[in-house]
């Protein structure tokens, strides 16, 4: 699984490094650097070809659009993962709390109704079956 990412990462690193060197050449250009510049430009094209070839191995990978918001704001995308996990856990706890409360309520309700309507509740329990205690 990680091998296909390693290949893409390698190509991207080489591509970025090439662009960085291109920027250095251009920032203070000398006529003697023209050949090197042309070489870098063609390497840019081949670099894009290599990155494009990696697409086939990664066609099944999905990236949530919300991550792009973080990147566009200059924020660490791992914060998105962290916040997803925290939200999931918080929601999990919230729903668990609701379920537990509802179970306790049901148990109390049946208890009190049994005191007031013992025969009806006996019929109810016979139809519904005994619920496990909360």
């Amino acid at each position: 699984m990680t091998e296909k990412f390693d290949s893409l990462e390698e190509h991207l690193e080489k591509f970025v490094e090439n662009i960085r060197q291109l920027g250095i050449i251009v920032s203070d250009f000398q006529p003697s650097s023209q050949t090197g510049l042309n070489q870098k430009l063609n390497f840019m094209v081949t670099g894009l070809q290599d990155i494009d070839k990696c697409r086939q191995q990664l066609h099944d990978i999905s990236v949530p659009l919300e991550v792009f918001e973080y990147i566009d704001q200059g924020r660490n995308p791992q914060l998105y993962t962290k916040e997803c996990l925290e939200r999931a856990l918080a929601k999990n706890e919230q729903v668990k709390g609701k379920i537990d409360t509802m179970k306790k309520f049901k148990s109390l309700l049946i208890q009190e109704l049994t005191k007031v309507f013992p025969e009806d509740m006996a019929k109810y329990k016979a139809i519904r079956g005994e619920d496990p205690p909360p």
Partner: protein, 176 residues
């Protein structure tokens, strides 16, 4: 009792979903310790001022998705005639354009990236060279930093001649 009972499922909100989907490791990794805020902490080797919002220089990913560039289906190398369009005038760029290759100040990271860096442009590395450098996992230091490190070592030597790190640090500085 007119309504039918809702169906039961094995997985409900009362189950610990983190444990159920074997995400404890991920949870401890991301939530157990502080995750740094900036994009440059995630990509320390990426040149340029990447911590700025993408809207500042029209480099946002959202704009790329909403308005994808119209391009051909293949990548063709640039011919000689095409390359004549890239003949540049000699001399330095205006100051605002020179910032592209400047990297943000790097903080010490445990996980260093494998590629080595040079100030001057070099021909593309052969695959064996890059693999060799990846194994070393060491960046080239600026001459200024090297000089400062040497001065520091000299000071240490003066104060503690039997310093254990002297021999090993000298060896490591010679590694490329």
């Amino acid at each position: 009792l007119s309504r039918r009972r809702p169906g039961t499922t094995e997985l409900t909100g009362s189950t610990n979903l983190i444990t159920h989907y074997n995400l404890e490791h991920a949870y401890n990794k991301f939530c157990g310790k502080k995750v740094k805020e900036k994009l440059s902490n995630f990509l320390p080797d990426l040149p340029g001022m990447i911590d700025l919002p993408g809207s500042h220089d029209s480099s946002s990913l959202r704009s790329l998705i909403e308005k994808p560039p119209i391009c051909g289906s293949s990548f063709t190398p640039l011919t000689g005639a095409m390359l004549t369009g890239f003949r540049l005038h000699a001399g330095p760029l205006p100051e605002q354009c020179r910032l592209m290759h400047i990297q943000p100040p790097k903080k010490k990271n445990k996980h260093k990236h494998k590629q080595s860096r040079t100030q001057d442009p070099v021909p593309p590395e052969t695959p064996s060279d890059s693999d060799h450098k990846k194994k070393k996992k060491k960046k080239e230091e600026d001459p200024e930093r090297k000089r400062k490190k040497k001065e520091k070592k000299k000071k240490k030597n003066r104060h503690s001649p039997e310093h254990p790190g002297v021999g090993s640090s000298q060896a490591s500085s010679s590694l490329r």
